[in-house]
Protein backbone atom coordinates (compact mmCIF):
# COMPACT_ATOMS: atom_id res chain seq x y z
CA UNK A 1 0.00 0.00 0.00
CA UNK A 2 2.80 2.38 1.00
CA UNK A 3 4.90 1.25 -1.93
CA UNK A 4 2.02 1.88 -4.30
CA UNK A 5 1.43 5.40 -3.04
CA UNK A 6 5.17 6.08 -3.13
CA UNK A 7 5.24 4.85 -6.71
CA UNK A 8 2.37 7.15 -7.52
CA UNK A 9 4.13 10.16 -6.00
CA UNK A 10 7.37 9.37 -7.82
CA UNK A 11 5.53 9.00 -11.12
CA UNK A 12 3.80 12.30 -10.42
CA UNK A 13 7.12 14.02 -9.80
CA UNK A 14 8.64 12.59 -12.96
CA UNK A 15 5.57 13.64 -14.91
CA UNK A 16 5.86 17.10 -13.43
CA UNK A 17 9.54 17.21 -14.36
CA UNK A 18 8.82 16.29 -17.94
CA UNK A 19 5.99 18.79 -18.17
CA UNK A 20 8.31 21.49 -16.87
CA UNK A 21 10.82 20.49 -19.54
CA UNK A 22 8.17 20.83 -22.25
CA UNK A 23 6.98 24.13 -20.85
CA UNK A 24 10.54 25.49 -20.73
CA UNK A 25 11.05 24.47 -24.33
CA UNK A 26 7.95 26.35 -25.45
CA UNK A 27 8.89 29.44 -23.49
CA UNK A 28 12.43 29.49 -24.93
CA UNK A 29 11.07 29.23 -28.44
CA UNK A 30 8.40 31.85 -27.87
CA UNK A 31 10.86 34.19 -26.20
CA UNK A 32 13.37 33.86 -28.99
CA UNK A 33 10.97 34.21 -31.89
CA UNK A 34 8.38 36.41 -30.19
CA UNK A 35 6.19 35.93 -33.23
CA UNK A 36 2.79 35.41 -31.73
CA UNK A 37 3.02 37.43 -28.53
CA UNK A 38 4.15 40.51 -30.47
CA UNK A 39 1.20 40.31 -32.84
CA UNK A 40 -1.24 39.76 -29.99
CA UNK A 41 0.01 42.67 -27.95
CA UNK A 42 0.21 44.96 -30.99
CA UNK A 43 -3.35 44.09 -31.89
CA UNK A 44 -4.50 44.72 -28.34
CA UNK A 45 -2.73 48.07 -28.18
CA UNK A 46 -3.99 49.29 -31.53
CA UNK A 47 -7.57 48.26 -30.87
CA UNK A 48 -7.67 49.84 -27.43
CA UNK A 49 -6.25 53.07 -28.74
CA UNK A 50 -8.69 53.14 -31.65
CA UNK A 51 -11.65 52.57 -29.37
CA UNK A 52 -10.44 55.22 -26.96
CA UNK A 53 -9.83 57.71 -29.74
CA UNK A 54 -13.22 57.27 -31.35
CA UNK A 55 -15.29 57.15 -28.20
CA UNK A 56 -13.45 59.75 -26.16
CA UNK A 57 -16.38 62.08 -25.63
CA UNK A 58 -19.08 59.44 -25.28
CA UNK A 59 -20.20 58.11 -21.97
CA UNK A 60 -20.48 54.45 -22.78
CA UNK A 61 -22.61 52.20 -20.60
CA UNK A 62 -20.67 49.65 -18.53
CA UNK A 63 -22.03 46.77 -20.53
CA UNK A 64 -20.51 48.20 -23.69
CA UNK A 65 -17.17 48.61 -21.91
CA UNK A 66 -17.36 45.01 -20.83
CA UNK A 67 -18.09 43.84 -24.36
CA UNK A 68 -15.21 45.88 -25.73
CA UNK A 69 -12.74 44.58 -23.17
CA UNK A 70 -13.62 41.00 -23.92
CA UNK A 71 -13.65 41.47 -27.68
CA UNK A 72 -10.17 42.96 -27.51
CA UNK A 73 -8.84 40.26 -25.18
CA UNK A 74 -10.45 37.49 -27.18
CA UNK A 75 -9.28 38.54 -30.61
CA UNK A 76 -5.81 39.47 -29.40
CA UNK A 77 -5.42 36.07 -27.84
CA UNK A 78 -7.00 34.09 -30.69
CA UNK A 79 -3.98 34.36 -32.87
CA UNK A 80 -1.61 33.06 -30.22
CA UNK A 81 -3.75 30.34 -28.77
CA UNK A 82 -3.96 28.14 -31.84
CA UNK A 83 -0.38 28.99 -32.75
CA UNK A 84 1.09 26.71 -30.12
CA UNK A 85 0.00 23.55 -31.92
CA UNK A 86 -0.06 24.85 -35.46
CA UNK A 87 3.60 25.81 -35.14
CA UNK A 88 4.55 22.23 -34.28
CA UNK A 89 2.86 20.98 -37.43
CA UNK A 90 4.09 23.74 -39.72
CA UNK A 91 7.70 23.48 -38.61
CA UNK A 92 7.56 19.69 -38.75
CA UNK A 93 8.56 19.27 -35.11
CA UNK A 94 5.50 17.28 -34.09
CA UNK A 95 7.28 13.99 -34.80
CA UNK A 96 10.23 14.98 -32.61
CA UNK A 97 7.79 15.98 -29.89
CA UNK A 98 5.74 12.77 -30.17
CA UNK A 99 8.80 10.54 -30.04
CA UNK A 100 10.08 12.10 -26.85
CA UNK A 101 6.93 12.77 -24.84
CA UNK A 102 3.65 11.16 -23.98
CA UNK A 103 0.45 12.71 -25.31
CA UNK A 104 -0.84 13.63 -21.85
CA UNK A 105 2.35 15.48 -20.94
CA UNK A 106 2.23 17.40 -24.18
CA UNK A 107 -1.36 18.40 -23.49
CA UNK A 108 -0.73 19.68 -19.99
CA UNK A 109 2.37 21.61 -21.03
CA UNK A 110 0.53 23.26 -23.93
CA UNK A 111 -2.46 24.01 -21.71
CA UNK A 112 -0.30 25.70 -19.09
CA UNK A 113 1.53 27.64 -21.78
CA UNK A 114 -1.71 28.86 -23.32
CA UNK A 115 -3.08 29.79 -19.91
CA UNK A 116 0.00 31.83 -19.04
CA UNK A 117 -0.03 33.48 -22.45
CA UNK A 118 -3.69 34.38 -22.05
CA UNK A 119 -3.13 35.84 -18.60
CA UNK A 120 -0.19 37.89 -19.91
CA UNK A 121 -2.36 39.32 -22.69
CA UNK A 122 -5.17 40.03 -20.22
CA UNK A 123 -2.83 41.72 -17.76
CA UNK A 124 -1.61 44.01 -20.53
CA UNK A 125 -4.97 44.71 -22.19
CA UNK A 126 -7.13 45.35 -19.14
CA UNK A 127 -5.18 48.13 -17.39
CA UNK A 128 -4.51 49.70 -20.79
CA UNK A 129 -8.21 49.78 -21.50
CA UNK A 130 -9.17 51.04 -18.05
CA UNK A 131 -6.57 53.77 -18.34
CA UNK A 132 -7.47 54.98 -21.80
CA UNK A 133 -11.21 54.80 -21.26
CA UNK A 134 -10.91 56.44 -17.84
CA UNK A 135 -13.09 53.96 -16.02
CA UNK A 136 -12.52 52.04 -12.82
CA UNK A 137 -14.45 49.02 -11.59
CA UNK A 138 -16.53 49.66 -8.49
CA UNK A 139 -15.66 46.23 -7.20
CA UNK A 140 -12.10 45.59 -8.27
CA UNK A 141 -11.72 42.12 -6.81
CA UNK A 142 -14.88 40.98 -8.52
CA UNK A 143 -13.65 42.53 -11.77
CA UNK A 144 -10.27 40.81 -11.54
CA UNK A 145 -11.95 37.49 -10.70
CA UNK A 146 -14.31 37.74 -13.64
CA UNK A 147 -11.46 38.41 -16.03
CA UNK A 148 -9.38 35.62 -14.47
CA UNK A 149 -12.16 33.02 -14.58
CA UNK A 150 -13.12 33.94 -18.13
CA UNK A 151 -9.49 33.64 -19.19
CA UNK A 152 -9.21 30.22 -17.58
CA UNK A 153 -12.29 28.95 -19.38
CA UNK A 154 -11.29 30.40 -22.74
CA UNK A 155 -7.72 29.13 -22.61
CA UNK A 156 -8.84 25.64 -21.66
CA UNK A 157 -11.28 25.30 -24.55
CA UNK A 158 -9.02 26.91 -27.15
CA UNK A 159 -6.08 24.64 -26.30
CA UNK A 160 -8.05 21.54 -27.26
CA UNK A 161 -9.51 23.17 -30.34
CA UNK A 162 -6.07 24.43 -31.39
CA UNK A 163 -4.80 20.85 -31.24
CA UNK A 164 -7.71 19.68 -33.40
CA UNK A 165 -7.25 22.40 -35.98
CA UNK A 166 -3.49 21.89 -36.21
CA UNK A 167 -4.10 18.47 -37.69
CA UNK A 168 -6.13 19.82 -40.58
CA UNK A 169 -5.00 21.57 -43.70
CA UNK A 170 -7.07 24.74 -43.30
CA UNK A 171 -5.83 25.93 -39.99
CA UNK A 172 -6.50 29.58 -39.25
CA UNK A 173 -9.91 29.99 -40.82
CA UNK A 174 -11.11 26.67 -39.46
CA UNK A 175 -10.07 27.62 -35.95
CA UNK A 176 -12.45 30.57 -35.99
CA UNK A 177 -15.30 28.37 -37.22
CA UNK A 178 -14.92 25.59 -34.69
CA UNK A 179 -14.06 27.71 -31.69
CA UNK A 180 -16.91 30.18 -32.08
CA UNK A 181 -19.85 28.05 -30.89
CA UNK A 182 -17.94 26.68 -27.93
CA UNK A 183 -16.47 29.95 -26.75
CA UNK A 184 -19.58 32.09 -27.19
CA UNK A 185 -21.31 30.90 -24.00
CA UNK A 186 -18.12 31.47 -22.01
CA UNK A 187 -17.71 34.93 -23.47
CA UNK A 188 -21.36 35.70 -22.82
CA UNK A 189 -21.08 34.82 -19.15
CA UNK A 190 -17.72 36.59 -18.77
CA UNK A 191 -19.11 39.74 -20.36
CA UNK A 192 -22.08 39.71 -18.00
CA UNK A 193 -19.84 39.21 -14.99
CA UNK A 194 -17.42 41.95 -15.98
CA UNK A 195 -20.26 44.36 -16.70
CA UNK A 196 -21.72 43.61 -13.31
CA UNK A 197 -18.38 44.23 -11.61
CA UNK A 198 -17.90 47.53 -13.40
CA UNK A 199 -21.33 48.64 -12.25
CA UNK A 200 -20.55 47.69 -8.68
CA UNK A 201 -22.94 44.77 -8.48
CA UNK A 202 -22.58 42.10 -5.81
CA UNK A 203 -20.14 39.29 -6.42
CA UNK A 204 -21.82 36.65 -8.57
CA UNK A 205 -20.07 33.66 -7.08
CA UNK A 206 -22.30 31.21 -8.92
CA UNK A 207 -21.24 32.31 -12.36
CA UNK A 208 -17.59 32.63 -11.39
CA UNK A 209 -17.64 29.07 -10.11
CA UNK A 210 -19.48 28.03 -13.25
CA UNK A 211 -16.61 29.29 -15.40
CA UNK A 212 -14.08 27.46 -13.24
CA UNK A 213 -16.17 24.30 -13.28
CA UNK A 214 -16.45 24.59 -17.04
CA UNK A 215 -12.67 24.81 -17.31
CA UNK A 216 -12.29 21.82 -15.02
CA UNK A 217 -14.64 19.71 -17.09
CA UNK A 218 -13.02 20.69 -20.39
CA UNK A 219 -9.52 20.05 -19.07
CA UNK A 220 -10.44 16.66 -17.62
CA UNK A 221 -12.05 15.42 -20.80
CA UNK A 222 -9.36 16.88 -23.02
CA UNK A 223 -6.72 15.16 -20.91
CA UNK A 224 -8.44 11.83 -21.51
CA UNK A 225 -9.15 12.42 -25.18
CA UNK A 226 -6.01 14.23 -26.26
CA UNK A 227 -4.19 11.12 -27.41
CA UNK A 228 -6.91 10.53 -30.00
CA UNK A 229 -6.27 13.94 -31.52
CA UNK A 230 -2.51 13.81 -31.31
CA UNK A 231 -1.82 10.37 -32.66
CA UNK A 232 -3.59 7.78 -34.73
CA UNK A 233 -4.74 5.11 -32.27
Amino acid sequence: MIRRSLNFVIRGLILQNRIVKLLKKDFYIEFRSRASINISLAFAGITTLSVSLTSATMNLPFRVHSILIWVIIFFSAMNSLSHIFIREEEEGTSIFLSIHSEAEEIYIAKLLFNFILFIVITVVVTPLYLFFMQIWPENFIFFASSVFCGSTALSSITTTLGAIVAKTSMRSSLFTVISFPLTIPVLWISINLTASSLEGGSVDLLNLLFLLAFSGVIVSFSYLLFKFIWMEQ
Binding site: K25, Y28, G92, I95, F96, I99, Q233
Partner: protein
Protein backbone atom coordinates in the same frame (compact mmCIF):
# COMPACT_ATOMS: atom_id res chain seq x y z
CA UNK B 1 21.49 -3.88 -21.20
CA UNK B 2 19.73 -7.13 -20.62
CA UNK B 3 16.39 -6.30 -22.15
CA UNK B 4 15.40 -8.39 -25.13
CA UNK B 5 13.16 -6.73 -27.65
CA UNK B 6 11.29 -8.52 -30.41
CA UNK B 7 9.42 -6.90 -33.27
CA UNK B 8 7.00 -9.12 -35.15
CA UNK B 9 5.17 -7.82 -38.18
CA UNK B 10 2.60 -9.90 -39.96
CA UNK B 11 0.91 -8.92 -43.18
CA UNK B 12 1.25 -5.18 -42.72
CA UNK B 13 -0.28 -2.91 -45.29
CA UNK B 14 -0.75 0.82 -45.43
CA UNK B 15 -3.23 2.81 -47.43
CA UNK B 16 -3.72 6.54 -47.80
CA UNK B 17 -7.18 7.17 -49.16
CA UNK B 18 -7.29 5.24 -52.39
CA UNK B 19 -3.60 4.57 -52.95
CA UNK B 20 -1.92 1.64 -51.29
CA UNK B 21 1.68 2.19 -50.27
CA UNK B 22 2.61 -1.38 -49.44
CA UNK B 23 1.01 -4.67 -48.49
CA UNK B 24 1.77 -8.08 -47.11
CA UNK B 25 4.88 -7.05 -45.15
CA UNK B 26 5.97 -9.65 -42.61
CA UNK B 27 9.23 -9.91 -40.71
CA UNK B 28 10.71 -10.60 -37.32
CA UNK B 29 13.66 -8.83 -35.66
CA UNK B 30 15.12 -9.06 -32.21
CA UNK B 31 17.75 -7.40 -30.04
CA UNK B 32 21.28 -7.83 -31.31
CA UNK B 33 20.12 -7.81 -34.91
CA UNK B 34 20.37 -5.13 -37.53
CA UNK B 35 17.52 -5.15 -40.03
CA UNK B 36 17.42 -3.17 -43.27
CA UNK B 37 14.42 -1.87 -45.18
CA UNK B 38 15.15 -0.94 -48.75
CA UNK B 39 13.24 -0.20 -51.93
CA UNK B 40 12.78 2.45 -54.60
CA UNK B 41 11.48 5.92 -53.79
CA UNK B 42 7.83 5.84 -52.85
CA UNK B 43 7.84 2.18 -51.86
CA UNK B 44 7.03 3.08 -48.28
CA UNK B 45 10.34 2.75 -46.39
CA UNK B 46 9.78 5.86 -44.27
CA UNK B 47 6.14 4.94 -43.73
CA UNK B 48 7.08 1.49 -42.50
CA UNK B 49 9.65 2.90 -40.09
CA UNK B 50 7.07 5.36 -38.76
CA UNK B 51 4.59 2.53 -38.28
CA UNK B 52 7.16 0.61 -36.24
CA UNK B 53 7.81 3.75 -34.20
CA UNK B 54 4.10 4.03 -33.47
CA UNK B 55 3.68 7.33 -35.30
CA UNK B 56 1.27 5.77 -37.78
CA UNK B 57 -0.98 2.74 -37.64
CA UNK B 58 -1.07 0.03 -40.30
CA UNK B 59 -4.25 -0.19 -42.37
CA UNK B 60 -4.16 -3.96 -42.08
CA UNK B 61 -2.05 -6.56 -40.36
CA UNK B 62 -0.50 -6.71 -36.95
CA UNK B 63 2.64 -5.29 -35.45
CA UNK B 64 3.73 -6.59 -32.07
CA UNK B 65 6.65 -5.13 -30.15
CA UNK B 66 7.67 -7.28 -27.23
CA UNK B 67 9.99 -6.63 -24.34
CA UNK B 68 11.28 -9.78 -22.65
CA UNK B 69 8.41 -11.74 -24.13
CA UNK B 70 5.61 -9.38 -23.07
CA UNK B 71 3.96 -7.09 -25.58
CA UNK B 72 4.43 -3.36 -24.95
CA UNK B 73 0.96 -1.89 -24.80
CA UNK B 74 1.62 1.66 -23.71
CA UNK B 75 3.42 4.21 -25.87
CA UNK B 76 6.88 3.37 -27.08
CA UNK B 77 8.70 6.58 -26.42
CA UNK B 78 10.89 5.30 -23.62
CA UNK B 79 12.06 2.33 -25.68
CA UNK B 80 12.97 3.79 -29.04
CA UNK B 81 15.38 6.19 -30.69
CA UNK B 82 14.20 7.58 -33.98
CA UNK B 83 15.81 9.68 -36.71
CA UNK B 84 14.21 10.56 -40.02
CA UNK B 85 14.44 13.33 -42.60
CA UNK B 86 10.74 13.97 -41.85
CA UNK B 87 11.62 14.80 -38.26
CA UNK B 88 12.59 18.43 -37.86
CA UNK B 89 14.26 19.69 -34.73
CA UNK B 90 13.42 22.88 -32.89
CA UNK B 91 14.95 25.65 -34.95
CA UNK B 92 15.01 28.15 -32.11
CA UNK B 93 16.67 25.84 -29.62
CA UNK B 94 20.42 25.37 -29.54
CA UNK B 95 22.15 22.10 -30.31
CA UNK B 96 22.60 21.50 -26.60
CA UNK B 97 18.97 22.32 -25.83
CA UNK B 98 17.65 20.03 -28.55
CA UNK B 99 19.85 17.18 -27.32
CA UNK B 100 18.86 17.92 -23.74
CA UNK B 101 15.19 17.84 -24.71
CA UNK B 102 15.63 14.36 -26.13
CA UNK B 103 17.73 13.18 -23.18
CA UNK B 104 15.91 11.20 -20.55
CA UNK B 105 18.69 10.09 -18.24
CA UNK B 106 20.13 11.58 -15.08
CA UNK B 107 23.79 12.06 -15.99
CA UNK B 108 23.86 15.26 -18.00
CA UNK B 109 27.50 14.82 -18.98
CA UNK B 110 26.29 12.25 -21.49
CA UNK B 111 24.69 15.05 -23.50
CA UNK B 112 28.07 16.73 -24.00
CA UNK B 113 29.65 13.35 -24.69
CA UNK B 114 27.30 12.64 -27.57
CA UNK B 115 27.53 16.16 -28.92
CA UNK B 116 31.34 15.89 -29.13
CA UNK B 117 31.13 12.33 -30.43
CA UNK B 118 29.17 13.50 -33.43
CA UNK B 119 31.43 16.48 -33.94
CA UNK B 120 29.03 19.22 -32.89
CA UNK B 121 31.08 20.43 -29.93
CA UNK B 122 31.91 23.72 -31.63
CA UNK B 123 28.26 24.36 -32.45
CA UNK B 124 26.85 23.44 -29.07
CA UNK B 125 25.35 26.84 -28.33
CA UNK B 126 24.20 27.66 -31.81
CA UNK B 127 20.51 27.62 -32.68
CA UNK B 128 19.55 24.71 -34.89
CA UNK B 129 18.23 26.99 -37.61
CA UNK B 130 21.70 28.16 -38.55
CA UNK B 131 23.13 24.66 -38.92
CA UNK B 132 23.81 23.17 -42.32
CA UNK B 133 21.79 20.14 -43.41
CA UNK B 134 24.70 17.81 -42.63
CA UNK B 135 25.07 19.15 -39.12
CA UNK B 136 21.33 18.92 -38.59
CA UNK B 137 21.43 15.28 -39.58
CA UNK B 138 24.17 14.73 -37.00
CA UNK B 139 21.95 16.38 -34.40
CA UNK B 140 19.08 14.09 -35.37
CA UNK B 141 21.33 11.08 -34.88
CA UNK B 142 22.39 12.40 -31.50
CA UNK B 143 18.74 12.61 -30.39
CA UNK B 144 18.16 9.06 -31.63
CA UNK B 145 21.09 7.52 -29.80
CA UNK B 146 21.52 9.67 -26.74
CA UNK B 147 19.38 7.47 -24.48
CA UNK B 148 20.97 4.21 -25.62
CA UNK B 149 17.49 2.93 -26.44
CA UNK B 150 16.60 -0.72 -26.87
CA UNK B 151 15.21 -0.10 -30.36
CA UNK B 152 16.91 2.26 -32.80
CA UNK B 153 15.02 3.26 -35.93
CA UNK B 154 17.02 5.13 -38.54
CA UNK B 155 15.52 6.42 -41.75
CA UNK B 156 18.22 7.37 -44.27
CA UNK B 157 20.76 8.00 -41.49
CA UNK B 158 23.61 8.85 -43.82
CA UNK B 159 21.77 11.46 -45.84
CA UNK B 160 23.66 14.76 -46.09
CA UNK B 161 26.54 13.41 -44.01
CA UNK B 162 30.15 13.92 -45.07
CA UNK B 163 32.81 11.22 -44.84
CA UNK B 164 33.66 12.05 -41.24
CA UNK B 165 30.00 12.05 -40.25
CA UNK B 166 29.42 8.69 -41.86
CA UNK B 167 32.45 7.27 -40.09
CA UNK B 168 31.04 8.23 -36.72
CA UNK B 169 27.62 6.94 -37.70
CA UNK B 170 28.86 3.55 -38.82
CA UNK B 171 31.06 3.17 -35.76
CA UNK B 172 28.14 3.93 -33.45
CA UNK B 173 25.82 1.55 -35.25
CA UNK B 174 28.42 -1.22 -35.04
CA UNK B 175 28.66 -0.56 -31.33
CA UNK B 176 24.96 -0.46 -30.53
CA UNK B 177 23.81 -3.27 -32.77
CA UNK B 178 25.48 -5.77 -30.48
CA UNK B 179 22.80 -5.24 -27.86
CA UNK B 180 20.05 -3.10 -29.33
CA UNK B 181 17.60 -3.81 -32.07
CA UNK B 182 18.52 -1.62 -35.05
CA UNK B 183 16.41 -0.97 -38.11
CA UNK B 184 17.81 1.05 -41.01
CA UNK B 185 15.71 2.23 -43.94
CA UNK B 186 17.93 3.27 -46.80
CA UNK B 187 18.99 2.93 -50.41
CA UNK B 188 22.67 3.46 -49.66
CA UNK B 189 24.57 0.16 -50.12
CA UNK B 190 27.15 1.18 -47.50
CA UNK B 191 24.44 1.57 -44.89
CA UNK B 192 22.72 -1.63 -45.91
CA UNK B 193 25.98 -3.52 -45.49
CA UNK B 194 25.76 -2.89 -41.76
CA UNK B 195 22.78 -5.24 -41.54
CA UNK B 196 22.70 -8.93 -42.16
CA UNK B 197 19.00 -9.29 -42.88
CA UNK B 198 16.19 -7.17 -44.21
CA UNK B 199 13.41 -6.72 -46.74
CA UNK B 200 13.14 -5.11 -50.13
CA UNK B 201 9.79 -3.35 -50.43
CA UNK B 202 9.95 -3.42 -54.24
CA UNK B 203 9.85 -7.21 -54.21
CA UNK B 204 7.07 -7.30 -51.62
CA UNK B 205 4.78 -4.99 -53.52
CA UNK B 206 4.93 -6.78 -56.85
Amino acid sequence: MHERYLIEASNLSRRFGKSRIFRGISFSVESGECFFITGPNGSGKSTLVQIIAGLQKPSEGKLAIKLNGKEILESLWSHIGFASPAMNLYERLTVYENASFAFRGKDKSLINHYISLFGLGKHKDKEARILSSGLRQRLRLITAMINSPGIVLLDEPGSNLDVEGKDVLFREIEKIKKESLVIIASNDPEELKLCHKGIDLAKQNS
